[in-house]
C-alpha cells in the first residue's frame, strides 16, 4: 500500500468517527497545558504557601505540627546580630557585584563583538564560570585561595608584597594572605567570585543585544563621523538599555538568592562575617532543625524577587508590543 493510500485511509477513519473532541482548540489547549501547570502548582505554588505558614509557626524537623506563633520567627530573626549581618551582606554582595558586572560585561561584550584570532577559545574560556556547575567552579576558587598553598600568595611573595614590612600595610605581614580567614578579605573573595560567576551570562545577553543593533544605524553613525564614544553614548547604550536591564536583573536574582558561593567558600565564616540570607536560612532551618526560623529568614528574599519579576514582566511586555 502506498503512503498516500495510507493517509487516505486514516482520513476516512477520522471522518467516520467525527473529529476527536480533543481536536477542538478550546479543549486541547488546556489539556496540553495541564501537566506543566499541575507540576508547578504542586511543587512551587504549594511550597511557597507552606513557606509562609512555616514562618508563622514553631515547626521543627522533630515536631512537624504547625502551631502558629504569629510574627515571632521574624522578630527572632531580626533580633539576631548574625541575621542582620547576613541581610546586609546579601544586599552589599548583590549591589556591588552587579555594578562591577555591568561595567565589565559591557567591555567584554564589546571585545567579543570584534573579530580577532583565537576568539572562539576566548569565548569558551570566558563562559566557563556559567557553563560549568557552580559548586565545582567555586571549589576551584577554594583551592586557588587556599590558606597555605594559594598560587596568588606565591606570586605576591615573589613580588615582595607579603611579609613583614609589606607595602600593602601591616596586615600583610604573614607568609600568606589568608584570603578566607580575615572577615574583610573573605568578603572581598566572595564578591570577586560572584562577579566571576555572573559576568558570563550578562556578557552573552549584552552580546546578543549588540549584534542585534541594525547595521544601517551603525553605517549612518559612521557616515556622520560619530567617534567611538559618541557612538557608545548616543547609540549603543540607549539601544542596549532594555537588554542591559535584563542582564542585571538575572544577576540580581542569582546573586541575591545564592547559597553556593558562600557555603563552599567560607561556610559563612570567619565568625559569621560572610553569612548571607540563603546560608543563614540553611544553617538555621536545615542544620539547626528550626524550619519555621529558616522559612522566615528565606522569606526576606521575597520582596526583592517580586520586584525583579515585575520589572522583567514589563520588559517582556514592551518587547512584545514593539
Amino acid at each position: 500500500m502506498s503512503a498516500s493510500a495510507q493517509v487516505d485511509a486514516a482520513a476516512l477513519a477520522d471522518t467516520r468517527q467525527g473529529r476527536y473532541w480533543l481536536d477542538r482548540e478550546s479543549v486541547l489547549g488546556p489539556v496540553l497545558l495541564l501537566p506543566a501547570v499541575i507540576y508547578i502548582i504542586a511543587l512551587v505554588g504549594i511550597p511557597l504557601v507552606l513557606a509562609v505558614l512555616y514562618s508563622l509557626s514553631d515547626v521543627t524537623i522533630g515536631d512537624q505540627s504547625i502551631d502558629f506563633v504569629g510574627l515571632k520567627n521574624f522578630r527572632d530573626a531580626l533580633d539576631n546580630t548574625t541575621f542582620r549581618t547576613a541581610l546586609q551582606n546579601t544586599f552589599v554582595f548583590t549591589i556591588v557585584s552587579q555594578a562591577v558586572v555591568l561595567v565589565l560585561a559591557n567591555i567584554l561584550a564589546l571585545v567579543l563583538s570584534a573579530d580577532f584570532h583565537g576568539k572562539r577559545l576566548v569565548r569558551f574560556l570566558v563562559l566557563l564560570p556559567w557553563t560549568t556547575p557552580i559548586a565545582l567552579g567555586v571549589l576551584g576558587w577554594l583551592w586557588t585561595l587556599d590558606n597555605v598553598y594559594s598560587p596568588i600568595d606565591y606570586l605576591m611573595r615573589q613580588a615582595g608584597l607579603l611579609g613583614v614590612g609589606s607595602p600593602l600595610g601591616p596586615d600583610w605581614f604573614g607568609t600568606n594572605s589568608l584570603w578566607l580567614a580575615y572577615p574583610d578579605r573573605a568578603r572581598l573573595s566572595v564578591l570577586i567570585v560572584h562577579v566571576w560567576r555572573t559576568l558570563p551570562l550578562a556578557t552573552v545577553i549584552l552580546l546578543a543585544g549588540l549584534t542585534a543593533i541594525p547595521q544601517d544605524v551603525k553605517d549612518a553613525a559612521n557616515v556622520d563621523g560619530a567617534g567611538f564614544f559618541r557612538q557608545l553614548f548616543a547609540i549603543r547604550i540607549p539601544l542596549l538599555l532594555p537588554i542591559m536591564a535584563v542582564a542585571v536583573l538575572y544577576g540580581i536574582v542569582f546573586t541575591f538568592t545564592d547559597l553556593i558561593v558562600v557555603f563552599i567558600l567560607t561556610r559563612g565564616g570567619p565568625f559569621d562575617s560572610t553569612q548571607v540570607l540563603a546560608t543563614w536560612a540553611y544553617f538555621k532551618g536545615i542544620e539547626g532543625g528550626s524550619l519555621g526560623q529558616g522559612a522566615a529568614i528565606a522569606l526576606f528574599l521575597f520582596p526583592v524577587l517580586v520586584g525583579v519579576a515585575a520589572l522583567m514582566l514589563r520588559i517582556a511586555k514592551r518587547a512584545e508590543t514593539v
Binding site: 497545558l33 504549594i46 565545582l136 571549589l139 547559597l259 540563603a278
Partner: protein, 331 residues
C-alpha cells in the same frame, strides 16, 4: 588633484618601492600642473596615515590584552584545578616550591584514587540517572505546554508563557525548607528520587519558554496541511511539528541535563547519605571533609565533570541565550 595625477602619483610610489631606498618625499612625481598639491600637503597626508595606523595597532593591542585578561580571570580556577590534578603529594604540599612547576614528574595516581577509593563513581551514576529522568519529565511537561501556549492559547498565551518563565526565577533557597517537608511526606527523603521529583520545577518553566519561541518559528501551515490530509491535531503534531522541532527538543534535553548537573541547594538539603548523592554535592561534602584534603583528586572530580558540560553547553549557547533575552532582542 585630478584622477590622472593621482594615478601618476601612485605609479611613482610603486616605482620608488621597486627601486628600494628612495625616501617617501622624493618618490613624489613632479607636479603635473602648477596648481597640483604642493609637497608639504603630501607629507601631512603621510603623517595622518601613520597616525591612523598607530591608532589601529593600539586598538588591536588593547583588544588582545583585554581579551586575554578576561579569559585568564574566567579560567583561573579551572586552569589551576587541572594543573593540580597531576601533582604528586610531596610536590604539592611543600609551600617552598614553585607551585607553577611540576617539580616532580606528573602522575595519574590521583585520578585512579578518585575512582577506586572514593564514592565518586556512585555520585556520577546517581547524577546520570537523575539527569535522564529529569529530562524525560521535562519533555513530558514542557513540550505539550509550549505547544498549547504558542498555538492554541491565542492572546493570553504569551502572558501565561512569561508567567511560567518567571517560575524559573523562584530560587531553590526560597523553597528548599518547605520542599524538604513535602519530600519527607512522600517518603523520598534521603534518596535521589527527591531530586527527580523537584528538579523539573525549574527545568519545565525554562524549557517551556524556550520551546514556545521555537514553535512560533514553525509555520502553522505544516500541521494545518497534515490536518487537511486527515490527521487529528495530535497526530499532526506528532508527525509534522515534532520532527521539525528536533533541534529545539535537543536544546531542551541538553539544558535540562546541564541544569541537573549544576543544581546544588536541593541536593544539599534533601540528601545526607553519601550513597544517594549527586556529583556537585557529593564532591563538595564527602570528599572535602576528613582531616586531609585530597586536593588533587578533588580537583580531578570537579574538572572531569565541568569541562565536558562546558563543551556541551557551548554547542547550544545561542538557543539558551535566545531564551534568556526574553524577546527583548529582535534577532
Amino acid at each position: 588633484m585630478t584622477e590622472t595625477a593621482r594615478r601618476l602619483q601612485e605609479d611613482g610610489k610603486r616605482a620608488s618601492q621597486a627601486v628600494g631606498e628612495v625616501p617617501a618625499s622624493l618618490a613624489v612625481p613632479m607636479p603635473v600642473s602648477p596648481t597640483a598639491a604642493p609637497v608639504w600637503d603630501d607629507a601631512a597626508n603621510e603623517r595622518a596615515r601613520r597616525q591612523a595606523q598607530v591608532r589601529r595597532v593600539a586598538t588591536r593591542g588593547l583588544l588582545y590584552v583585554t581579551a586575554t585578561f578576561f579569559a585568564l580571570f574566567a579560567a583561573l580556577p579551572f586552569g589551576w584545578m587541572i594543573f593540580t590534578v597531576f601533582k604528586q603529594n610531596s610536590d604539592l604540599y611543600d609551600p617552598n616550591r614553585n607551585p607553577f612547576l611540576y617539580n616532580e614528574p606528573p602522575t595519574l595516581n590521583n585520578i585512579t584514587y578518585l575512582f577506586e577509593r572514593t564514592e565518586y563513581a556512585t555520585f556520577a551514576r546517581n547524577t546520570f540517572i537523575v539527569a535522564v529522568l529529569v529530562v524525560l519529565i521535562t519533555l513530558i511537561g514542557a513540550v505539550p505546554a509550549a505547544y498549547s501556549l504558542s498555538r492554541l492559547a491565542g492572546k493570553w498565551g504569551e502572558g501565561l508563557g512569561i508567567a511560567i518563565f518567571l517560575v524559573y526565577l523562584v530560587p531553590p533557597t526560597l523553597l528548599f525548607i518547605p520542599l524538604s517537608r513535602v519530600v519527607a511526606d512522600l517518603g523520598l527523603r534521603n534518596t535521589w528520587w527527591a531530586m527527580v521529583l523537584v528538579y523539573p520545577t525549574f527545568t519545565i518553566p525554562f524549557c517551556t519558554w524556550l520551546l514556545m519561541g521555537f514553535f512560533k518559528s514553525i509555520p502553522r501551515d505544516i500541521e494545518e496541511q497534515a490536518m487537511v490530509d486527515g490527521y487529528s491535531r495530535l497526530g499532526a503534531i506528532w508527525r509534522t511539528v515534532l520532527p521539525v522541532s528536533l533541534p529545539g527538543l535537543l536544546t531542551v534535553v541538553v539544558f535540562s541535563f546541564a541544569l541537573t548537573m549544576h543544581e546544588f541547594v536541593y541536593a544539599l538539603a534533601f540528601v545526607t547519605s553519601s550513597q544517594q548523592k549527586t556529583i556537585s554535592v557529593g564532591v563538595t561534602t564527602e570528599l572535602i571533609r576528613g582531616d586531609v584534603f585530597f586536593w588533587q583528586s578533588l580537583m580531578a572530580a570537579a574538572a572531569i565533570v565541568a569541562i565536558p558540560i562546558a563543551l556541551l553547553y557551548n554547542l547550544f549557547l545561542d538557543r539558551f541565550i535566545a531564551g534568556f533575552t526574553l524577546g527583548a532582542v529582535k534577532g
